[in-house]
Amino acid sequence: MIKRAAALLLLTIIGGIFFTLLTGYSADENLNLTAQYYAENTAKDIGAANIVTAIIVTYRGLDTLGEVTVLFLAAAIVGLVLARSRGAGAAQTVKAPVGELLTTGSHSLLPLILLLGIYIFVNGHLTPGGGFQGGAVVASAMLLLLLANPVKRFNHRLISIIESFSGFSYVVIGVLGLLLAGGFLDNRILPIGEFGQLFSAGAIPLIYSLIGLKVGAEFSSILSNLSEAEEL
């Protein structure tokens, strides 16, 4: 089939390009300039133990703001699109009740999962994980609820307010950085504190928490919107 052959041919060439990159690649012996700067300065400047977090929240905070916005946007669009297809929503197909086990299990698990999510994003500057991972975990709690009770309706307005609140606060903190510290999204508006402590690294825990909230809300929004979408 010509199409497959063409695809194979094109991809072979692209693969060739990749292959050149691969063979030309040699791992660095030492950290490059940028990485070295981060390795040396993160602790004293930012105060975060997790350098990745420091980069994400502070050094490349603008990326992260954009990233959060991506999710926000995706949630808004999905919500908009699906809300419009839902129509009146009168004739809901009544789904078969889910097993008792799942319902009870989910109810007991829910607080635990939520707690785990919060732990992940609050400790983002110290341990692996952070706002995104934590947010995803929070959202999975919502997911569980959805699975347990498919007819359940989330309070979209609440989700939306959480989303907006965290997003807006994030921006405000960023602006505070601009006003009080070295620039937009500078985390040093709060004291850097003692390295390795929960309340350290300036505004990072706060920002990451907001991100976590926001990501959780956004994922929840997307999931719930999709789950509420009508079957076609």
Binding site: F132, A136, S140
Partner: protein, 84 residues
């Protein structure tokens, strides 16, 4: 140590590629989606090996978890279209 890790990486790579092939060629769409989730999941293991725990967590939670659910949500709502 490093040989062990290398063997593990090779194994993961093989499984990854196998899962990926299933994801694009799999007979039924649910299997394809699951395989794609599997690709993400194995990749997150690989990330751990590559000393990237943050990435591993994210890939596991978002790439293999949430995304897969998204797929299934949509899939369950477009029944009849999956064989197009």
């Amino acid at each position: 140590m490093s040989a062990l890790i290398l063997a593990m990486v090779v194994l993961l790579a093989v499984v990854l590629i196998g899962a990926a092939l299933v994801a694009i060629k799999g007979k039924s769409l649910p299997i394809a989606i699951l395989s794609a989730g599997l690709v993400s999941l194995i990749a997150s293991v690989l990330f751990l090996v590559l000393a990237a725990p943050d990435v591993a967590m994210t890939e596991a939670a978002i790439g293999s978890g949430l995304t897969t659910f998204l797929f299934f949500f949509v899939l369950s709502r477009v029944r009849g279209g999956e064989n197009d």
